[in-house]
């Protein structure tokens, strides 16, 4: 339908005409504001037209799109009404649209022109040469005009090189003349079939241009050419370029000519004093330009083959140029500048070596090891060790049973790990019992660092358990063994990170927690949703929705869940604190407590039964175990009357409620902020895992079923290995994202209460305390932390590209 296709255009034209007329009665309408109105009208109506005609079918054929169009139209209408009734807002919108339209037209226009020129090159080389020479000349002549085209808009309307003519006419006449001269000249050159003729025309063009420039210069702008130096430069650069060309197997003569011109220009302009006589000084312009003309004239009319090579190169430049320009100016150059700044002082005017980095790491707020003694008395640490040990033993025993071999046969790796864990745990117990830690006799800070390193080695070893390493061959990998080890490691990392504090460790904590939990939860939800049937997409939508909410918004959402009210006797309005206080009351209540205890006991019993049942048929019972541990924890806390928030009176009875300041009480306030990011990012992980699971070939799963694999075996041994690369992608993406976490911390705590992270620190240091050197150093440190991930990504990509060949 013709009308439908043209509807957006018609609407846009109508808008462009009608809106300025509507507003024309207003006083003080300048020409520019008419333009802005027209732009605005065209934009709004054109966009509405596009919405109504989008898609191949008319919009009313599908109910879904009708609703969508209706929603968009209502929102658009409300916004339009709103904007039109508040004039000040309107001006902002209209002028913004005007600027956007200008920017887009300039970008799009120059891009289209470049492409049209290149299309022309294939058909008519002479015309293409002339046109591009004209454009280049116009640009070059504008620059010699003293950068006026740019400067008149921005800084300084005074001419630098030329004194003739002010205003736009004066600024334009010179570039237009240059464009005409070179356009016509190069066209003539290209239709001359003899090379000598082309050389003649080229040198004439250069001569005329050089002479014109020299004639318009002030005496102080003319160099007093030092002929010896200039000659040396001419020969050296000409030789250099010629040598390079010869080395690359090309004809050296054009390069020698070009090199001579460049060398002469360097020698004459940069290596000679100024205030030269007109007679001598004009050669500084004439000779290089004449040589340039000769170089252009030298070029043969291209053969079809060289034309196609030229086309590819030029197109690559046109297509990639804008993106590369932005990449360089917004990413690469500033990043390099930041690296340089990080070695300079706060104002960037003095080199200070590594001082900024030293300042960062020496600061107690960045790295604070002072609480290290608490590590050995923390529950997390003990439970972590126990879990790792238990996991190792379970794995070894399971293997020896199944394969009927000795318990410790051929498993050097796991035994070493187990021994390490036992020794470290024993040492801890021994030193706590002997009060050696608290009195400071046993360990100093360096010794503590050694322990940290040992812990790291232990962790790496334990992670290796899950992979294919020969030394761990006799370790049976089940959810009970590997699961316990991983859970133990996780708790251990929490034990360490809750006693060693500071910005640096906070960041590590964020990365560990958010990456692990988002990936795990995302995978679990994706697997669960897989079995949900028709409701799958609804459930996934809800989990996914936080992705659309800003980090700032999400922080506000969660603040509502955490907020305590003081004094604690007030009604608590946040979900978390209200629950917490209620639990405290429950701990001291009479029969409700008994009732809840009974329910919990019943739940634990049910879960144990289900776990035993699943264990019999060889199914995973990790979920049941988590439930049992959680409920048992609640049960014992409640039985002990220590669950929830309450104050204890002097006689041990209930002395009123007590609240938790989730975002202020260090160190676990960090974790409550991490939950916000997990809430957002789990949806991302889930969506990707969900697609990856669906992409696992159905035959694999069927084959596993035929072989009698249980559901969990299929998941962990068929599906997970298949989507392992995807898990890697998600994990690396999350690591990069979390390393930069800023908004949540900024909005929730502002980095106070021991929650500072690198990005927030960098922001505070650079933009509140104006220490650019230190700020840059922290930024560089963030960059260095994500570099390994970047290398992994590059390697993966290279492999993928090789595989796709």
């Amino acid at each position: 339908m013709k009308v439908q296709r043209d509807l957006p255009i018609i609407a846009a034209i109508l808008g462009a005409v009608i809106l300025p007329i509507v507003r024309a009665t207003e006083p003080g309408m300048s020409l520019l504001s008419y333009f802005q109105w027209a732009t605005f009208g065209a934009g709004v109506l054109g966009a509405l037209g596009l919405v109504f005609t989008s898609g191949e079918e008319p919009f009313w054929t599908k109910v879904g799109s009708t609703i969508r169009v209706a929603v968009v139209s209502v929102i658009g209408a409300v916004a339009l009404y709103y904007i039109l009734t508040t004039s000040e807002s309107f001006d902002r919108v209209a002028s913004t649209m005007f600027v956007v339209l200008c920017a887009v037209s300039i970008i799009g226009g120059s891009w289209v022109i470049s492409n049209v020129l290149l299309d022309l090159a294939q058909k008519n080389w002479a015309l293409f040469s002339a046109a591009s020479a004209a454009i280049a000349a116009a640009v070059g002549f504008s620059i010699t005009r003293g950068n006026l085209v740019l400067q008149s808009l921005v800084v300084d309307p005074d001419p630098v090189l030329f004194s003739a003519g002010g205003g736009w006419g004066g600024r334009l006449e010179w570039p237009i003349f240059g464009a005409l001269l070179w356009g016509v000249g190069v066209y003539a050159m290209r239709i001359v079939p003899v090379q000598a003729g082309r050389l003649l025309i080229g040198s004439a063009l250069g001569l005329i241009t050089g002479w014109l420039i020299a004639a318009n210069q002030q005496p102080w702008q003319l160099p007093d050419i030092n002929w010896v130096t200039t000659a040396i430069w001419t020969v050296v650069v000409a030789g250099l370029l010629g040598g390079i060309a010869a080395f690359r197997g090309r004809d050296p003569i054009p390069s020698v000519i070009l090199g001579a011109g460049v060398g002469f220009a360097i020698g004459a302009w940069l290596m000679s004093p100024f205030l030269g006589a007109v007679g001598v000084g004009r050669w500084a312009s004439i000779i290089p330009l004449a040589l340039l003309g000769v170089r252009i004239g030298w070029r043969q009319t291209p053969t079809p083959r060289s034309l196609s090579v030229f086309d590819n190169r030029a197109r690559a430049f046109v297509f990639l140029g804008p993106a590369m320009l932005f990449l360089f100016s917004a990413l690469v150059v500033p990043a390099v500048a930041t690296i340089i700044l990080s070695f300079r002082n706060r104002d960037g005017d003095e080199f200070v070596g590594f001082d900024n980095y030293r300042t960062f790491f020496a600061d107690e707020d960045s790295v604070d090891l002072s609480g290290w003694r608490d590590l050995f008395t923390s529950d997390l640490y003990s439970v972590g060790f126990l879990l790792i040990g238990a996991g190792l033993i379970i794995g070894l025993v399971a293997n020896s049973r199944r394969n009927r071999v000795g318990l410790l046969e051929g498993s050097s790796g796991s035994i070493a790990l187990l021994a390490g864990a036992v020794v470290m745990f024993a040492a801890t117990v021994w030193s706590i019992l002997g009060e050696r830690i608290t009195s400071g006799q046993f360990l100093s800070v360096p010794a503590f660092l050694v322990i940290l390193v040992l812990l790291a080695i232990l962790s790496l070893g334990a992670i290796a358990l899950t992979g294919k390493v020969d030394a761990f061959d006799s370790f049976e990998r089940t959810s009970a063994s590997v699961g316990s080890v991983i859970a133990g490691l996780f708790l251990m990392s929490y034990a360490v990170l809750s006693v060693v504090r500071g910005t640096f460790f906070n960041n590590i904590w964020w990365v560990i927690t958010v990456t692990t939990l988002s990936v795990t939860l995302g995978l679990a939800i994706a697997a669960l949703a897989e079995k949900a049937g028709s409701t799958e997409n609804v459930a996934k939508s809800f989990i996914f929705m936080p992705m659309a909410i800003s980090f700032v918004g999400a922080s506000v959402v969660w603040r509502l869940q955490y907020q305590p009210r003081f004094p604690a006797t007030e009604t608590q309005t946040s979900v978390m604190n209200s629950t917490w206080v209620e639990l405290g009351e429950l701990s001291f209540s009479g029969w409700p407590r008994i009732l809840v205890l009974l329910v919990l006991a019943g739940l634990i019993g049910l879960l144990v039964k289900s776990a035993v049942g699943r264990a019999r048929i060889g199914e995973t019972f990790a979920g049941q175990m988590v439930g049992i541990v959680a409920f048992a924890f609640l049960f014992f806390k409640l039985a002990d009357r220590s669950l929830g928030g309450f104050k204890e009176a002097a006689d041990g009875t209930y002395g009123g409620p007590d609240v938790v300041r989730f975002l202020q009480d260090a160190p676990f306030n960090n974790v409550f902020m991490m939950i916000i990011l997990i809430w957002i990012q789990t949806g991302f992980a889930m969506v990707i895992f969900s697609a990856a699971i669906k992409a696992v070939p159905q035959e694999f799963i069927e084959a596993a079923n035929v072989d009698g694999a249980t559901e969990s075996q299929t998941f962990f041994r068929v599906i997970v290995p298949q989507i392992l690369p995807t898990i890697g992608v998600v994990a690396t993406t999350l690591i990069v994202l979390v390393t930069k976490v800023f908004d949540i911390v900024k909005v929730s705590t502002g980095g106070n209460f021991g929650t500072n992270v690198l990005a927030n620190d960098m922001f505070e240091v650079s933009f509140s305390f104006f220490n650019r050197g230190l700020g840059s150093a922290i930024a560089v440190f963030i960059l260095v932390s994500v570099l390994p991930v970047m290398f992994m990504n590059v390697r993966r990509m290279q492999q993928e590209r090789v595989m796709n060949r």
């Binding site: 969508r68 921005v154 300084d156 990413l331 930041t338």
Partner: protein
């Protein structure tokens, strides 16, 4: 199954409580949790929204909504154009160094914004100028390479430029994934018919890539609308009218609880347009996410 729906409930509860609280009066919000409402619809009120959308003063988000659009729309259109050109160039134009240039471009994905922030801000504030000392005099004559962008009145431009630069690696990666998978035969037969890269791009690639472009547009819109770091560094010194919604909501959250009761409404207004985009175009959004990470 109960596990899945339990998680769904857990995930939805925070946003739901925010939404419900936004319709409750100041005293209601302060004296009881959102779960106590209901039963009496008369308790619900729109006064929070009134204050947030038409209250005037520092808590009025209406101007910042316009600013957010003024930032998000250009910062979505401009990168799409550049990235589509570049993605086509990397996928279908044969030139030397294509491989390593592409990998270098995409590896810039991991560059954190913080690394570029200080020099970018310096450039935007002062511009970049070149003083040609070679004329011996001329120290008062400067050639302006980059003009002073004047963040106080024209901050939007600086924000667009930054968003454009930082969108490049991901957008090129995503669009390249799509455009390079288009059937090769189409291109070959078009080349044989004498079509230039320009024609192929304009007549074939652009229409075929609409789904990928839509996917990236949604991404970029959500990312620029929800951005806080760039806006707060580049715009907070300028005209308060130019601040986007994220900065205003963050300010609202940071004023020591004086306007605590406006936060739910403010946060919902801030999230409204992203949520509309998200729910109406979820299909494209998911497709874009997948194109960025999963093959096939």
């Amino acid at each position: 199954m109960w596990a899945l729906w339990g998680l769904v409930l857990l995930w939805t509860l925070p946003s739901l409580s925010l939404f419900l609280n936004s319709f409750r009066s100041r005293s209601d919000q302060q004296n009881a949790g959102f779960w106590t409402m209901g039963g009496n619809p008369g308790d619900l009120t729109l006064e929070n929204y009134q204050e947030v959308l038409a209250g005037g003063g520092a808590n009025d988000l209406s101007q910042s909504l316009i600013s957010s659009f003024a930032i998000a729309i250009p910062a979505t259109i401009i990168p799409i154009a550049f990235a589509t050109f570049a993605a086509y160039g990397f996928a279908w134009i044969d030139f030397k160094g294509r491989e390593w240039m592409f990998i270098a471009t995409v590896s810039l994905l991991a560059i954190p914004l913080q690394v570029a922030l200080i020099p970018l801000l310096q450039t935007y504030v002062g511009g970049a100028h070149f003083t040609p000392e070679i004329f011996g005099i001329g120290s008062d004559k400067t050639i302006t390479l980059i003009p002073d962008l004047d963040l106080n009145t024209r901050g939007g431009i600086a924000v667009w430029l930054t968003h454009t630069g930082f969108a490049m690696p991901f957008s090129i990666f995503l669009l390249h994934n799509y455009i390079s998978e288009l059937p090769k035969e189409v291109f070959e037969s078009a080349r044989i018919d004498g079509a230039s890269h320009f024609t192929i791009f304009w007549r074939l690639v652009l229409p075929l890539s609409i789904p990928a472009l839509a996917a990236f547009a949604i991404f970029q819109f959500l990312w620029t609308w929800n951005d806080f770091l760039i806006a707060v560094t580049m715009l907070s010194g300028g005209n308060p009218v130019d601040l986007p919604t994220t900065v205003l909501v963050a300010n609202l959250a940071g004023d020591f609880g004086r306007n605590e009761h406006l936060l739910p409404a403010g946060a919902f207004v801030q999230a409204f347009f992203p949520l509309v985009v998200f729910f109406s175009l979820q299909r494209f959004f998911v497709r874009g996410l997948l194109a960025g990470s999963v093959k096939g």
